[in-house]
């Protein structure tokens, strides 16, 4: 299983029946494929819909129905559409149960940086700042390192997305929970050791005696 699939499958276990969820572009979008059977999760897209789903077939695309990246999507029966103020009212007002976002850096305070690299990449924050500020639960889904360099740091060096502490960080190596005591290592991926995770992390990790193995199905 490749790293992204591993991460997506683990994140998918965090959803509960009836959740309203928003998945960031890229890796987080994969999560929708691996939801546990028997639960209904309602996916919101920032551009104004609850109940988005993958386009069933290419020929079924509507010019009026796309995801936040502008690509054609489908919608479940019982979907709801609305304007951008309502879309972000849902996010900012605490109605969004969970958002899954990519990350460039996470630090010991659980702060996330994921929207710009000064002088290099200034795409704009889009909806990320509202999502991190407003969602009930923020899950960061990202690779543990980038080009061999740790992305989990003592302190973010990139501009923060918000000062809210994220709730969970899922990488291909580990599941880490930011808490008021610091970053707690909850799970290690199958085939990885605690020592490997600590080695690939530039922040202090609190390692409880009962660190589990990431429960990911094939």
């Amino acid at each position: 299983m490749d790293d992204k699939t591993l991460i997506a499958k683990r994140v998918a276990l965090e959803f509960k029946d009836g959740d309203l969820a928003n998945l960031g572009i890229g890796l987080p979008t994969l999560v929708a494929r691996y939801l546990p059977a028997g639960i209904d999760v309602f996916f919101q897209s920032e551009n104004g819909i609850i109940g988005m789903q993958a386009l069933p077939e290419d020929g079924a695309a509507s010019a009026d129905l796309t995801d936040a990246g502008g690509s054609p999507i489908g919608a479940i029966p019982g979907a709801a559409s609305f304007d951008s103020a309502m879309s972000f009212g849902l996010i900012r007002g605490g109605h969004l149960d969970v958002t899954v976002l990519g990350g460039l850096q996470v630090d010991e305070e659980g702060h996330l940086a994921n929207w710009m690299v000064p002088g290099k990449m200034v795409p704009g924050m889009g909806g990320a700042m509202d999502l991190v500020s407003g969602a009930k639960r923020v899950i960061v889904a990202m690779t543990h390192t980038a080009k061999g360099e740790p992305k989990i740091l003592k302190r973010c060096t990139l501009p923060l997305t918000a000062v809210r502490r994220v709730d969970l960080v899922v990488t291909e190596m580990a599941v880490i929970e930011p808490t008021d005591r610091g970053l707690v290592l909850r799970e290690v991926a199958p085939g990885r050791s605690v020592a490997e995770v600590v080695e690939a992390t530039a922040a202090e990790l609190i390692v409880p005696p009962d660190v589990g193995t990431m429960p990911v199905t094939a």
């Binding site: 009026d64 796309t66 936040a68 951008s84 924050m125 889009g126 509202d130 997305t161």
Partner: protein, 220 residues
């Protein structure tokens, strides 16, 4: 109240240097004929307020590519390398605003409010130079309203009187912008008799629409 105007007339009302709100999200819900006509008439030094600059050759991206935009107020430009290039080269000013804040700032202007008190951006670079207001022990940024000279709106259907109806994710910023601009120019995929759009389906009431772009006569 005659609102129907032809495309060229509608766009000729926009002067160089105008502040435009343009509906749409990655081009979806952006009025295609109005955009093309602005390019054709070569309006210059525009300030554009919109969710994004789409991609090259799409929606607001066409205005950027034609070098008509002096300043853009938007939530992201990551999908349009030309906007990024112009920003880095200092050719176009870009003000980046969190998407939910952008929506509320536009709404505040149209709804007669003094600004928006939002938690989004507190403690980040977005807060720099802005007033913070504490309410019940929690900090909020005071984000000012965003007004415009013109709103360019794309609807699924308009009735003869200018009531507008939107479809699915093509709605996005359109109804908010129709409240926030001095002059509202709407382009609809279809124009239908009064009464075809029922009251509960109206997304923008006719009284907000100043001009409705006439359909091209279809040939053959």
């Amino acid at each position: 109240m005659k609102k129907l105007v032809n495309l060229e007339d509608a766009v000729s009302r926009i002067p160089d240097g105008a502040v435009l709100m343009i509906g749409g999200f990655m081009g979806v819900g952006t009025p295609p004929r109005l955009i093309d006509e602005i390019v054709r008439q070569g309006k210059r030094d525009l300030t554009v307020i919109g969710n994004d600059t789409a991609r090259q050759g799409v929606g607001i991206g066409k205005l950027v590519a034609a070098r008509l935009v002096r300043r853009v107020i938007t939530s992201h430009i990551g999908t349009n390398p030309e906007t990024q290039r112009q920003m880095i080269a200092g050719e176009t000013e870009v003000e980046l605003v969190p998407q939910g804040t952008l929506a509320e700032r536009i709404r505040a202007a149209g709804f007669g409010l003094g600004g928006v008190l939002t938690p989004t951006g507190v403690g980040t670079v977005v807060a720099e130079g802005k007033r913070t207001v504490e309410v019940d022990g929690r900090d909020f940024l005071l984000e000012p309203p965003l007004h415009a000279d013109f709103a360019l709106i794309n609807a699924k259907r308009a009735d003869y009187r200018g009531n507008l109806e939107f479809a699915l994710t093509a709605r996005n910023f359109n109804p908010l912008m129709a409240m926030a601009a001095k002059t509202v120019i709407a382009e609809a995929d279809d124009i239908v008799p009064v009464g075809v759009v029922p009251p509960d389906a109206v997304g923008v009431p006719n009284v907000l629409v100043d001009y409705l772009v006439a359909k091209e006569r279809s040939h053959g």
